[in-house]
């Protein structure tokens, strides 16, 4: 497959933008359009674009950790967000919120951690499948 210069040049700029946008979607998801699923998919699309336009190997080098670990960390953060309320004697997955909102992010609570888990699982799954298929 011949590489398209246009595509690879664009991917260099688009990928970071899409990642930033995905984090924006993730954080604002609780109140506005967005959320972990949508954010994760956008981030995954960005990474996928990078992987296809430049090379799967470059994508793997770009990732700080292996994609299956991203999936695992995502699942663990979702589980952790469920376990935190249990430490306070509440049922599993009861939403717990900090009283004071943080700057930029806004209100912070276990649902945000849960959504981050979803976000990471989605990214991890897509990138994992992509790399598995592309590197074969």
């Amino acid at each position: 497959m011949q590489r398209s210069i246009l595509l690879s040049a664009a991917a260099h700029y688009l990928m970071p933008l899409m990642l930033v946008f995905s984090i924006f979607l993730l954080i604002r998801g609780h109140n506005e359009v967005g959320g972990g699923f949508a954010g994760g998919l956008v981030a995954a699309s960005g990474l996928m674009l990078y992987g296809i336009a430049i090379s799967p190997a470059a994508l793997r080098k770009l990732l700080p950790i292996q994609p299956h670990l991203i999936v695992g960390i995502g699942l663990l953060s979702a589980l952790l967000s469920g376990a935190i309320p249990m430490l306070m004697g509440k049922p599993f997955l009861t939403g717990q919120w900090l009283k004071t909102p943080l700057p930029v992010i806004g209100k912070v609570g276990t649902p945000l951690l849960f959504d981050t888990g979803v976000y990471l699982v989605v990214i991890g799954v897509v990138v994992w499948i992509l790399l598995t298929l592309a590197e074969e």
Binding site: H30, A78, V122, V126, L133
Partner: protein, 778 residues
């Protein structure tokens, strides 16, 4: 009691740490025995209080919604068992350290034995049936690992599986029985059941609950027809056999029957089923033992027989029979534990366990021989050992039962067998004529001969002063069964009674058989061999095979490996089931008020319909992907138009990613072809139509009910105050229905794992297999 509940938790922790401790301290790791010893000491301190009729109790809620609480209760019955478990546990850890000295898995041995001991303590201390079940299964699992300890041997693995399957399936039946009792009494607390035994007995489900629980007890305690796993479990290292498969774990079933004695003994089934089961096991075990030549298998079959006797006497259910069962339990744990450990010493000192070869080792192994002699005398029921008192009680109890002649006669047969085996096991190897081979026997270290000697000495001590256990242990335990104080008077000498005569007769016959052993054995062995193919042991592999071939059959039927068939059957069954429900419960259809279609609605639906039609006629794969993509994007735009931006966004992203993934695999797929016949295509079309019609019908029904649905309103109103969010869709996903989402992302992760492993597997087996059968439009 707090100490005891802690010790259960500490035990689990210690089991995990044991291998590390062993690696760090190596030779001194037998100090782990201090843990059971501490429990034993604490239990000893509790004896006076428990004997005074008090029961220690502690309860912590665990999963209240399931009726599961961490409630522990120490009464007379639990105390007897707990003393045996912790006391023999300490000895077995010391012994095991020497027996398995230098074995690469010694750390694992410590870990499993401590885990088992903790679980077993849990079984006898639990007052909650669910908790008891958890510990019960834990003993089965630790037993599985301990039987399969030498996991490089195929026999050990097979025996471990057999024990696990037999006791595990019994455990499940027992859980079902517990659930029935909980249904009847609305509680899982055993003390609550005992208090409400009248209600339970009046309930029509009581016999079912009893039989199910009995299945658990009978499999665990190796009663006929489940006895066959126990002799095979002798593949385990000898200390394990001594501990699990004679002194403690196999008595869990006896314990359970004793524990539920106040609940079920009023049932008409109780004496009938239990006495006959116990009697068959009692006599059968003793007769089967006569055919064995391996020390451990001899002991295993007599263990089966002894377990049968305990069950039998619990079944008789008189006060005397109950006391007898308890005395037999204690006496048996002491002498059989000792004899198993002796068998290990003999194996260690001579290299064989075959009694036809063994002989004359007594001079070289004086301590072991003394232990063997004492324990053997107890097993044979010779005064002044504890076994003698147990045997006198047995005869006394059968003589006062209904059908005394028959019962006493059968008991005599079994006891004669016991005496004979006691002679073979404890006399022949040490003082008998040795076989052809030169054995060079030698005594092992003190850690090997001291534990059996201590147990055997206890048999002597308690035989000489039987009131030590009579007053302090047997009476409180019998009280737990009888639910009223019982006086227990144990003594060696009762005067010239019929029991004494029977004892003497037993001894005479037993010694005769024991001496004639070598000449008798081949005949007995031939007899059992001829019978073996009708026995339950032959049924086990057959049923296992049947289950496996059924599993193989249904897998070939259901798992065709063709994606199209999976999708087809999913749609078909959804249609059938949903249509069936619709037909059985007529629902209201309504055609919602149709808004005048807007221009872009018409265009989008036109695109969707056209693309759907074209997709079925497409002649290239790229065209198919493009058409499917246009359907997806059109739907996403529809979402957007009907104010569902979240859905639209996700749909856009998904469509994009799907197309890209498709492109990635496109190069690998076989050439695009139309392979399906006209008939298949027609069938597919019909199926698709049915699916479409069903979905439309469902949508119409939902919209008919929409007016009175309050869900939308509820979520809209409570999303901000309850969950701090204004985006309802996301709040539902991460908060209101967070558990569903957790399940979904887990499925997603598993799917990715599946893709990964399939692709990797296909790569590995690439020479043998063609590309995976995903290609080709069918």
């Amino acid at each position: 009691m707090i100490f005891l509940s802690f010790s259960v938790l500490t035990g689990i922790l210690l089991a995990g740490l044991a291998p590390l401790l062993h690696r760090r301290f190596a030779t001194r790791s037998a100090a782990l025995a201090l843990f059971p010893l501490a429990i034993f000491a604490q239990l000893c301190l509790a004896i006076p209080e428990v004997a005074a009729g008090k029961a220690w109790q502690v309860a912590l809620p665990w999963v209240p919604s399931l009726g599961l609480s961490l409630s522990l209760r120490l009464d007379g019955l639990g105390l007897v068992m707990a003393l045996l478990i912790s006391g023999i546990g300490a000895l077995v850890i010391i012994y095991g350290g020497a027996y398995l000295h230098g074995h690469p898995f010694l750390g694992r041995f410590y870990s499993l034995v401590i885990l088992f001991m903790t679980a077993m303590l849990g079984v006898v201390l639990s007052d909650n049936a669910l908790l008891l079940f958890v510990f019960w299964e834990l003993t089965s699992i630790s037993s599985f690992f301990l039987i399969g300890f030498e996991h490089h041997k195929a026999n050990a693995r097979a025996a471990a599986w057999q024990a696990l399957l037999v006791t595990g399936s019994g455990g499940l039946a027992m859980l079902a029985g517990f659930s029935l009792l909980a249904k009847i009494t609305a509680s899982f607390e055993i003390s609550h059941w005992i208090g409400h035994s009248a209600d339970i007995l009046a309930h029509p489900l009581a016999p079912a609950a009893f039989l199910l629980i009995l299945a658990g007890a009978a499999t665990k305690s190796a009663q006929f027809p489940f006895h066959f796993w126990l002799p095979n479990a002798m593949e385990a290292p000898t200390p394990v056999s001594a501990y699990l498969h004679s002194a403690t774990m196999v008595k869990a079933g006896i314990y359970l029957l004793a524990r539920l004695f106040p609940v079920f003994s009023g049932l008409a089934l109780w004496p009938m089923v239990i006495t006959s089961m116990g009697l068959i096991t009692l006599v059968g075990g003793a007769l089967l033992a006569l055919a064995q030549t391996d020390l451990k298998r001899l002991l295993a079959y007599t263990t089966v027989s002894a377990l049968g006797s305990m069950v039998f006497f619990l079944g008789l259910g008189t006060t005397l029979a109950v006391k007898t069962a308890l005395v037999v339990l204690i006496a048996h744990a002491l002498y059989k534990g000792a004899l198993f450990l002796v068998a290990g010493c003999v194996d260690h000192g001579t290299g064989t366990r075959d009694i036809t070869i063994l002989g004359g080792a007594g001079r070289a192994m004086p301590f072991t021989a003394t232990a063997a002699g004492l324990a053997g005398l107890s097993m044979a029921g010779i005064a002044p050992l504890l076994g003698f008192i147990a045997k006198e009680l047995m005869y006394e109890a059968t003589l006062e039962a209904t059908l005394p002649a028959l019962l006493t006669g059968l008991l005599l047969v079994a006891n004669v067998g016991m005496v004979a085996v006691a002679g073979w096991v404890s006399f022949k190897p040490f003082w008998g004529k040795p076989g052809q081979e030169h054995l060079h026997p030698h005594e092992g270290p003190a850690a090997l001969w001291f534990p059996p000697l201590l147990l055997a000495a206890l048999s002597l001590l308690l035989g000489a002063f039987p009131q030590l256990i009579g007053k302090w242990l047997v009476a409180p335990a019998a009280q737990a069964l009888w639910q009223a104080p019982l006086s227990v008077k144990l003594s060696l000498w009762h005067g010239l009674t019929p029991m004494l005569g029977l004892s003497a007769l037993t001894l005479l016959l037993g010694i005769g058989i024991s001496a004639a052993g070598p000449r008798l054995q081949p005949g007995i062995t031939r007899f059992w061999h001829a019978l073996a193919k009708f026995g339950p042991a032959a049924f086990y592999p057959r049923s296992l095979h049947a289950v496996l071939s059924f599993a193989a059959w249904q897998t070939t039927v259901l798992q065709s490996g063709y994606l199209r068939l999976y999708v087809g059957s999913i749609v078909l069954f959804t249609v059938i089931l949903a249509a069936l429900t619709l037909a059985l419960r007529p629902s209201q259809f309504s055609v919602p008020t149709i808004l005048p279609p807007r221009f872009y609605d018409v265009v989008l639906i036109g695109i969707i319909l056209t693309a759907t039609f074209l997709v079925t006629r497409a002649r290239s794969r790229l065209a198919t992907i493009a058409l499917l993509g246009s359907i997806g994007f059109s739907i996403a735009i529809l979402f957007l138009l009907y104010s569902a931006p979240d859905l639209a966004m996700v749909q856009f992203a998904i469509e994009t990613l799907t197309v890209i993934l498709f492109v990635l695999v496109l190069y690998r797929l076989p050439k695009f072809k139309q392979l399906s016949s006209r008939a298949t295509k027609t069938a597919d079309m019909l199926l698709a139509l049915m699916g479409g019609v069903l979905m439309t019908a469902l949508m119409l029904i939902v919209s008919a009910h929409n007016s009175d649905s309050h869900l939308t309103r509820y979520f809209a109103e409570s999303s901000l105050p309850l969950a701090n969010g204004r985006n309802i869709v996301n709040v539902i996903l991460v908060d209101f229905r967070g558990f569903d989402t957790l399940g979904e992302i887990t499925v997603l992760a598993i799917a990715a794992l599946g893709v990964f492993s399939l692709v990797r597997l296909a790569k590995k087996g690439g020479q043998k297999r063609q590309a995976p059968p995903t290609g080709g439009k069918q």
